[in-house]
């Protein structure tokens, strides 16, 4: 009977292997098992490379940099507000703030690599963001013991950590981690064949994949623009929270409206806004179906943008704009002062809705053009 590795050892090694490739790597190590020592050496030599490869596959450089920027800016903003410029210039503030940022980024990168592609739940991006921020706090705990002079004051950590959590959650909701890139594989073995007919189908398949990848990129950039609106509302939520302390009734109302609107829009963007490129292992028919479904989903999201994006943001903008006149009802000139802001907000929302309807019409044309293409290649 073939010897097999001890269960405890296998369990420990299994914990260290990213779930997306755990099964096959553990299986291969088990098949190669000769002795406990050989198994451990094999595992130690394989693990760093497997994890590194998984990190490379799951890390989206654009999103990674955006997250880094968001975390650093959050800590920087908190430091400026609480301790001012002297902290940054005279106490190596820029460097000190980079340490929790690096810790948070490392944790987020590992969270992506160790994400299980089979398990997705709506709050996952928020939990991962919390994990990143918790790692930033952990780094400060370690630093305060090892080199206390480099640790960031607790007030900055709490304030910046809260803002980081909000921004990173938003980014991860809008740009979900690429946890299910090629690792999913084909359902069964298919040997490749050669010949003119197969070449023609391959050509079409590549064409549809390219279209789908291009579409995914377009949606990403479009979402980035939408994110700017969310950032504006998030900033308003931040100031709204501060206003709560100044004016308990109006401030609380404005802060509440802004927070609700930002949360609702972020969630809706997560639900409706993402697009995925067609997987490499999908056949032609599936690829066309997936591409069509992505186009239709985006078209529907753009058509209804008023209900899930422009509308809620307009409400938040209006609440924010009317905060001062409502708090001071005796000063009628305040209404005149906020009027341009209110008008601009309405114009912006209207333009956004108009532009989205046009984009939806363009997508409809692309969907219609798929019909003859499907007939040509699938008949």
């Amino acid at each position: 009977m073939k010897p097999s590795p001890p269960k405890v050892l296998e369990f420990v090694v299994g914990l260290l292997i990213p779930p997306a490739c755990r099964q096959e790597v553990l299986g291969d190590l088990c098949e190669r098992y000769l002795s406990r020592r050989q198994y451990m050496l094999d595992a130690m030599g394989t693990l760093p490379l497997v994890v590194g490869s998984r990190v490379r596959r799951t890390t989206d450089l654009q999103v990674f940099l955006m997250q880094g920027f968001a975390v650093y800016i959050s800590f920087l903003g908190a430091a400026c507000q609480l301790l001012g410029a002297p902290f940054l210039h005279e106490h190596s503030g820029f460097l000190r703030l980079a340490i929790p940022t690096a810790a948070a980024l490392l944790a987020l990168m590992l969270a992506d690599a160790y994400a299980n592609p089979e398990k997705r739940w709506p709050l996952k991006p928020i939990v991962e963001a919390a994990f990143g921020v918790a790692s930033a706090f952990l780094s400060q705990g370690v630093l305060s013991v090892v080199r206390g002079e480099l640790a960031v004051p607790a007030g900055i950590m709490i304030s910046g950590g809260g803002m980081s959590m909000l921004l990173v959650s938003a980014l991860r909701l809008i740009f979900p981690a690429a946890a299910n890139r090629p690792q999913e594989g084909l359902p069964n073995a298919r040997l490749s064949t050669r010949g003119p007919i197969v070449e023609e189908v391959k050509m079409s398949l590549i064409e549809i994949r390219e279209k789908s990848q291009k579409f995914e990129k377009t949606v990403r950039w479009s979402n980035l623009k939408l994110l700017v609106g969310i950032l504006v509302v998030s900033s308003m939520a931040f100031f709204g929270m501060r206003a709560m302390m100044a004016d308990p009734v109006i401030g609380r109302f404005v802060g509440g409206v802004a927070i609700t609107a930002a949360s609702y829009v972020i969630y809706q963007l997560y639900r409706r806004g993402s697009a995925r490129a067609v997987p490499r292992d999908a056949n032609l028919e599936t690829s066309i179906e997936l591409y069509r479904a992505q186009l239709e989903r985006r078209r529907n999201a753009l058509r209804g943008i008023w209900t899930w994006y422009a509308g809620p943001i307009l409400v938040a903008l209006m609440a924010f704009g009317m905060q001062a006149p409502l708090a001071n009802p005796d000063q009628l000139d305040l209404w005149l002062k906020v009027a341009p802001f209110v008008v601009l907000s309405i114009v912006w929302s209207g333009l956004m809705a108009y532009q989205s309807r046009r984009a939806a019409s363009n997508l409809q044309r692309e969907i219609d053009s798929l019909g003859p293409w499907e007939k040509q290649h699938l008949s």
């Binding site: 553990l26 299986g27 291969d28 030599g45 490749s192 590549i206």
Partner: protein, 126 residues
Amino acid sequence: MPKPDSIGHFEQLVLTAILALREDAYGVTIHGKVGELARPKEISLGAIYVTLDRLEDKGLVASWLSDPTPERGGRAKRCYRLEAVGERALQESAVTAKRIWDTIAEVWGKEWAKQWGKRWSKETGS
């Protein structure tokens, strides 16, 4: 058809191993075959996984999970096959290698080429 990405020496070895193994190409067997091809160089299993991931991202190979087997502790294998682009990349590499061989043989002479040919036959047992 788009032109395949350029492939490195190690990638050529892995593609050749997948081609040779046909339906039985998965981590352990590919590692064994690449070890044979790269002799006397030692190859780590991790390096094979990294290269397979990269080749899959480039679209040169495709993978799928097989049924679990008892000798692997009830775990599935990730099997690999060459895609059309991968086959073409390998063909191009083989043609380049042939050109290198012809040029060297031309410069160093036919006797040298014969000697090397005999040495290879001994090594491979053919």
